[in-house]
């Protein structure tokens, strides 16, 4: 039985290799289809992962509180976001950190160097919110914050740029003519966060930033913060926690129960989901193109198999005359079409892998070659061979011996 199957397989290979050019052209559709499907799936999942990575740097369990940029005109006396909100939010259950957030940029002067730097006016909760840590020195103290101290915690890369090999601790740098003492250096995070890159930036107490540097959008209001960065403990409960925060802030802002919010809470969960779903839609779309090309390739296989059956009608007659059953004939043509499409599939897989590595290299995505995609495309090309080879094989097997033998 195995011997006979091997023999049938050998016959099929011979038939295919008797027409190399034709076999190559027929497989082309399958090759392109499989290569496309593999590349698209790999690049698609790499894109998704890179989106997820980028957002997970600042955490998907982060909520921003801020005043809306397009504040509803019907709100008569909107309140700014202040430390009162921060303090109240810290009491909300499920909140693990809440930090004031005012972003500015300055020219930082140290001796003869002057570097433009992004600075965050904040307090120590920012470390908890963003999982940053101090590598050298220390963070601000409560006292320093309360006393508008001119102290700074600097990012690792920024420290390197400004100080080179010199130890930055206790050195004095000048921001807008105000001297600041460097009290700490943060540990390198190695990733560019969203909006603010700590590695290349610096942290100062929000009080100092607000009062002495006059930073923030609402510079007229010395208490106004740009935002509050809130970290929730459990991503899965973010929606509930958000509602609690909303109620808390409504309370501190003394909003009437029927009044509208004069603030907004943004979280990234929905943003990340949307970015991911865009990437999914993209890969789905491209995947469909690949699948269509596989189907077109399959039709090509079917076409060639039909031609082959017609061309070899006499051969079918001979085989039947010497004892081939309908099943033998069907098997032979099926094996032929499956072999044809699997060869296409194999070449397609190789091309797809090469293409993925190429794309990954030039688009600096981490290549996500999934074994799954390869197995599926291999299976799919075999299935294409069976599906599109079945009709020609069936047609061949239904010939009567004499009609097949007499065929000219």
């Amino acid at each position: 039985m195995i011997d006979s199957f091997l023999a049938v397989f050998k016959i099929s290979l011979k038939a295919i290799f008797a027409n190399k050019m034709r076999a190559a052209l027929t497989s082309l559709g399958i090759i392109i289809g499989v290569a496309a499907v593999i590349t698209v799936l790999a690049v698609g999942s790499a894109t998704k992962k890179s989106i997820a990575d980028r957002f997970s740097n600042m955490g998907t369990n982060i909520i921003f509180l801020r005043q809306p940029w397009d504040l509803d005109e019907s709100i008569s006396s909107p309140k700014d976001v202040t430390m009162d909100d921060v303090v109240a939010i810290r009491e909300v259950e499920g909140v693990s950190a809440a930090a004031p957030y005012i972003q500015t940029s300055f020219d930082v002067k140290y001796k003869n160097t002057s570097v433009s730097l992004s600075a965050l006016a904040t307090d120590t909760d920012i470390f908890k919110a963003y999982d940053w840590s101090v590598d050298k020195g220390r963070s601000f103290t409560e006292k320093e914050i309360a006393s508008y101290a001119q102290v700074m915690v600097i990012g690792a890369t920024a420290a390197q740029t400004i100080f080179g090999d010199v130890d930055p601790l206790n050195k004095t740098v000048v921001l807008s003519n105000i001297p600041f003492t460097v009290v700490g250096v943060t540990k390198k995070t190695g990733s560019s966060g969203f909006g603010f890159n700590i590695d290349e930036g610096a942290l100062i107490p929000y009080t100092t930033g607000k009062v002495k540097l006059n930073s923030g959008w609402q510079s007229s209001n010395r208490r106004a913060l740009d935002r509050v960065v809130i970290k929730v403990e459990d991503f899965n409960k973010i929606e509930n926690t958000k509602v609690d925060i909303q109620n808390t802030v409504r309370n501190t802002h003394h909003i009437h129960p029927l009044g509208k919010d004069d603030f907004q809470l943004d979280d990234f969960a929905s943003f990340v989901e949307q970015a991911k779903s865009t990437a999914t839609t993209m890969s789905l779309f491209l995947g469909i193109i690949g699948a269509v090309s596989l189907i077109v390739g399959g039709i090509g296989v079917m076409n060639i198999m039909l031609v082959s059956v017609t061309e070899r009608t006499r051969e079918i007659g001979i085989r039947m005359a010497i004892g081939a059953t309908s099943w033998n004939i069907r098997l032979q043509f099926l094996v032929e079409s499956v072999t044809l499409s699997c060869m296409g599939g194999l070449i397609g897989i190789v091309l797809g892998v090469i293409f993925t590595l190429f794309v990954a290299k030039y688009m600096s995505l981490s290549a996500q070659l999934s074994v799954w995609a390869i197995v599926v495309s291999a299976g799919f090309s075999a299935a294409t061979g069976i599906f599109f080879g079945y009709y020609p094989a069936y047609k061949a097997s239904k010939l009567t011996p004499i009609d097949a033998l007499r065929y000219e």
């Binding site: 011997d3 085989r319 004892g323």
Partner: protein, 240 residues
């Protein structure tokens, strides 16, 4: 019981509104070990008759008993095993598969009865030896002469030990010398291996090799006589 027994075989083709009676009531019985030559004018129904005997075609009506099996009652597609084990075919146009070597052609019937590869090779080689072509085993059909191709086809018809060989004008495409080679081979198969041979021919010389001569005309049996094969020489493989 006869090996081959046909009763009132009819084969009627409808071509447009013309009815062609290719066989018009043929009843013939052939015993095991006979060497039958079938002659008759072109279009008299010889090939039609043989194709029915060889289970390649069905009669319109009538019965055909082959070795005790009522073939007319069985679907053609179910007769693959019968064709494989009981019948060997030799055609005028050789009907070898062109892409494959002589030995692969001879092995083919054994692929369909699941003979293990080693045994397949051995038996195919033996059959090729029997027809004197062992040294041409790995040649492709188009590298062989007509007579050699026909001998490969005969080897193929032998290889499953089928008791019956049907040959439709096996020498039709061969010159006299090659025809003699092939006919000597048939004689040998008949005499030494006891094969029942039914052979169609247009040439009286060829028909002389047979032990029985049936003549067809207009789809009917005209005559049916036992004869002494005059042309049959003492069979000898050395002459091949």
């Amino acid at each position: 019981m006869s090996l081959i027994d046909t009763r009132d075989l009819y084969k009627i083709y409808q071509v447009g509104d013309v009815e062609v009676k290719a066989l018009n009531g043929v009843s013939i019985a052939i015993e095991k070990g006979e060497f039958v030559a079938v002659m008759g004018p072109s279009g008299s129904g010889k090939s039609t008759f043989m194709n029915i005997l060889g289970c390649l075609d069905k009669p319109t009506c009538g019965t055909y008993i082959l070795d005790g099996i009522d073939v007319t009652a069985t679907d053609l597609s179910k007769l693959a095993g019968v064709r494989n084990r009981k019948i060997g075919f030799v055609f005028q146009g050789f009907n070898l598969i062109k892409r494959t070597t002589a030995i692969e052609n001879v092995e083919l019937p054994m692929i369909y009865n699941h003979t293990p590869a080693a045994q397949r090779h051995k038996k195919a080689m033996e059959a090729l030896e029997a027809v004197g072509l062992a040294q041409r085993a790995y040649h492709l059909p188009n590298q062989l002469s007509g007579g050699q191709q026909q001998r490969v086809a005969i080897a193929r018809s032998l290889v499953c030990d089928a008791p019956i060989i049907f040959a439709d004008e096996p020498t039709g495409n061969l010159d006299t010398k090659m025809s003699i080679e092939v006919m000597d081979l048939f004689t040998r198969l008949n005499k030494e291996m006891g094969k029942t041979i039914i052979l169609i021919t247009h040439e009286p010389d060829i028909a002389q090799y047979a032990t029985r001569l049936i003549k067809f005309k207009d789809g009917q049996k005209m005559s049916d006589e036992i004869q002494t094969p005059t042309a049959a020489k003492p069979a000898s493989m050395e002459g091949l």
